[in-house]
Symmetry: D2
Subunit: 371 residues, 4 copies
């Protein structure tokens, strides 16, 4: 089976999609071959340049043409967040499978529209919560699900970076309140996805947000400043449906943190700790260790942690960020081929969005049910 | 000048007080010499044994006799929390300087009574927030106060241990609701003290608590179980008076964590990170580092970090927990001798208690002012 | 320009070559396009299967046919070490550019033959010292060359893994003494390459070797055991031509180490430390840091560290092992296109082999000149 | 039983001895009480000041008077290394127990004279290899001796600091060649002691030394420079009597390292790793861990690790450098009281010295037997 791919966008995420689709056929033994057909971006020239670089035969400045092309079966949406919905809905309407970057849409109601449309049409979808694809996340889930650390009691998640810490970092589309939020939406959504993946659905939340940089230059070097209306830092207490409790924190002004995504899951018989800046390690503590010999053990990613071995047969040699995208694409393609992959689809993207939205609502009203 | 010391209690904290008073005269060049005079504990025999071990000439099972003894000028209170107030007030009334373990008392109103009594009487007091005595905490404060990391934006504190994680760990006095709380009171209070020390007074809080182990054996090995009414995990969002925001988390069921006391302070031009299980290290990030050469630098404690040098002239050789108590005693003695030490006195203990109490109140009512 | 690629071998290294050639065109903006033409392996079927998986149009069990094919301009040699020389020489004779896995050959004299043949023929060569391709290695070199840590005084390198620690791990071709050595040749050669890259040529060495597992099963599960004649652990003192001194250690029986490649370079005004199991970090210490604020700073790989940015625009997101191979291929292709890349070619492979051989000689005779 | 203590010297080590003797009676329940009697130092005034600070009733500028005093039963020798022998021999001759800082003497022959004299006289001796007193070292030994990590195959030790890295750091007595050596003698001796403690006697060595800072100011700020005749860096390969092999490295010019004392012991079924700058941690790897759950586990020091509990009942709260000295004194006092402590006595100090001396001899002659 061979499927055609259309890619919308060629920025940070567009490139990683292109890399991943290109890589996936070599790394994995897939039942389906995906052929890059067309790349769309703003402006013919930019689209053409990106298409050449990424191995797409054709390019266009009109994404609707891409969506409509019958040779294309999968549409990757990596455009700015505000455009996701329109593009994804158009692709779904055209019967395409859709791989959309997170967040699906600024509002949960929009995400719901997207999820429903896809389900109604019967197409396969995927949303880019790539960190879940880390073999060490799969290992964490395996440990939790097996009961090795007992009943899960608490979850803690911290995702902090520092790309907005500079007061002079200019206003960007990330700060547009229409986009659905600030650091919580951008980074915290990964924590929600991880919490759901590892622990389960979140029932109730209580959050807070803070904007520390009140205004930013309206463009690089501009003397004119624009007010910032989304949060630089957001936090939430979580109560999971299974009785577990937790907390999460997201910040994009945390000096020195580049990709801190620290997770800790506490169970009645052990704990798991993970640090995003060291994505090839997982720390595990189990009370079953002999007294006097207990301690967090540092598990290094290796072939024992699927699908690490598809990339490299030697443990400790490390996967990188782009490899996570390759795994994400692998799961999407397998799902299209009819396999059960349990990957994050639009329905999951919607649930994350609902949780996020409940956090924003709770900032005013206190504990709020996710719905 | 020579002052007599009376020590009430000889458990974990009683021993560390004894060690510290014994050690302080060797390590520091103090204007005052403190002589151990009498030790009080429950039961004559236990008191006598402890007195012999700790170098106290006399012992008693009647702490009131100790408090009343005219040869005693300083009273160390290391008894169970519920007794602190009565003992401290008696000592104050007798004109003694008082060194009391935290928390001063289960209720802020009681702590206030203690602080007022001491101030009215003009005696010197100290409360055992020993982690503040770590030279690396002093370094953190120095960095913050100097403006090296800019304006402080956020505080994050995590204090987790695992001594109560086992469902079969028996009910203890720590679980007595009359004691004022659970993990938040026991461990979280250290975070509040650190937050106040490093960032300043907390204005408003919003907290939550969770009890994961609902019942515990009523004594080691007992088949009878007793309900647990205090929290195993507690968390709070913080708004400081200076506009900074923050979060803290305390847990005594965090598998594998023995003395995790992780602090992160984020400023507009840098960050500080500290891990309690590595108390001789402080991580500092400054944006003034040359591009491409920036990163958290790991500062190892050494003579440059007062008063490390009083213990050891070589950096990296490390201080231990008991050394913090020695520094605490040093500050107390210097304050008695009239020096300005800025150490945590009963007034500070009261402020911590007020913050803690506000957190407990906020669990029901949402954001609550500290008062 | 478009060049044809022939790949010999499809094992661990063969796969990474295939991944890298496939990836490189997407990640980098190269002046040359490389087209996979033919894959050779032992047995038609195995070759055909690998060719299909890796995107090669044709396959063969006869590597000589591949080498002779006029559509092929680059030959990748990833066969067992003992075959490198014959294959590479044949490819060179046919005027192909050659990318050969390390070691070039068991003996320096053979490596020299290969280097000379390539130079005489004027083809471009590369040898797979992929760890040098890590942007953090490039950063280390940049720091050293700029004088930021002063005059280099000492080098220390440790490369340890544990894949042979089990006494029951069967005898493999790695243990064939005809292959040129054991852990030193296999892992230590990476340290020699790093030492040369960062510090410079090694003038004299003094080494020792030890074989701890004297016999191994002759095949998995075999009751028959075969003697081990190569070293499990090897070490050497080094004296560099520039006066710097150093030490290296290689072991493949170091329990728990999967890809430890720890390097420390000590200069008169600072130090660099690197850990291979955390390949996206580099620790830098400079004496120019303000007193009391000095410490190793942990630099996280990011776009500032070329060519990290070609893979990912966000720092801290991490590259993986396969990305290093992609960079290696990039340098090879650029060199073929006439750019100056300073990559490790056959001449460099020869120098590493000479250093290695001197170490083996020194085991008997003490300090030995590299020649 | 009560014994009198005489302390010679009041510098870095003199102070730690004073701290330790003062502390030991509180921390441990000893059968013997040690009373500080007299302190000797160069100059009456300095001795008197130190005596007052350290709680010694008397002081003297004449160490011979101290040694002769019948009220003194234990003599602590913390003077410059060149004086150890004369003082210790005099103390032994007077029938005193002697606690001497390492190295016993510059030459093994002198150390032998000291050990023999003590044995002939039947006094108890101790030499200050304080790092062996770390409960984590005891744990390491326990793990090794129990066979938990199988047969020991290799030892690696690195002890590096940076207090001499500055070219302008002045010439000191440490650089006097009469003192017996440089970094190897000063720091490497700790590694030899650790190697012997954990693995056993060293049979053969092959070492090298390097002096990187050729001249130093003859006194702080002096324009006159004095040649440096001892090594800044020293290394040695080791062959143990039990067949294990190893390597050690010592440097005092290793920028950023303050108390790096990293040890790794590799066995046939596991490994131990220890870092001196984190002296309350021990990393343990065992192959008996379930596949996919293996990794170095980080054991945090706690009451399970004797005698940690004597200092603190809570794990993870950390001991410091001075606590190691307290344990060392505890062992000495117990040995005097007739207990079997297995502590490092003059005989052990001699064996370390013999090993060190063999390393120095081997620099010229290659592999050399320890004798």
């Amino acid at each position: 089976m061979e499927l055609g791919l259309g890619l919308i966008g060629s920025g940070f995420m567009g490139r990683t999609h292109a890399f991943a689709f290109n890589n996936v056929a070599r790394v994995f033994n897939l039942p389906v071959k995906v052929q890059p057909v067309m790349l769309a971006d703003v402006g013919e020239e930019q689209a053409a340049r990106a298409a050449a670089a990424f191995g797409f035969a054709e390019s266009t400045a009109d994404w609707r043409r891409l969506v409509a092309d019958p040779r294309i079966h999968i549409v990757s949406v990596t455009s700015p967040n505000l455009l996701h919905k329109e593009m994804a809905l158009a692709a779904i309407a055209a019967g395409k499978h859709v791989y959309c970057e997170k967040p699906l849409a600024p509002k949960a109601s929009e995400a719901e529209e997207m999820a429903r449309a896809a389900e109604a049409k019967g197409v396969v979808t995927a949303v880019g919560f790539n960190y879940l694809k880390n073999p060490m996340m799969r290992l964490a889930k395996e440990i939790i699900d097996s009961g090795e650390i007992g009943e899960i009691r608490a979850f803690s998640g911290i995702h902090t970076e520092d790309f907005m810490m500079d007061t002079e970092a200019p206003w960007t589309w990330r700060l547009d309140p229409a986009g659905g939020g600030g650091a919580l939406a951008d980074l915290g959504s990964h924590l929600i996805a991880a919490a759901r993946y590892l622990v389960g659905p979140v029932a109730e939340v209580c959050g807070e947000v803070a904007t520390l940089v009140a205004t930013r230059p309206d463009g690089a070097g501009s003397a004119k400043r624009k007010p910032v209306e989304v949060e630089d830092i957001g936090r939430a207490f979580l109560r999971f449906e299974n009785g577990c409790n937790g907390v999460l924190e997201a910040s994009w002004i945390a000096g020195g943190r580049k990709m801190r995504q620290d997770l800790e899951i506490t169970g009645s018989r052990g704990s798991i700790a993970y640090c995003g800046e060291r994505m090839n390690e997982l720390d595990l503590y189990v009370t079953s260790d002999k007294a006097g010999r207990d301690g967090f053990r540092k598990i290094l990613a290796g072939p024992a942690n699927e699908p690490y071995g598809a990339f490299c047969v030697a443990p400790g040699h490390q996967l990188g960020f782009n490899d996570l995208k390759t795994i994400e694409v692998c799961d999407l393609v397998r799902a299209i081929a009819g396999e059960e992959t349990g990957h994050a689809d639009f329905r999951e993207g919607l649930e994350v969005q609902r949780t996020l939205e409940a956090i924003y609502r709770s900032v005013e009203g206190g504990w709020t049910r996710v719905s």
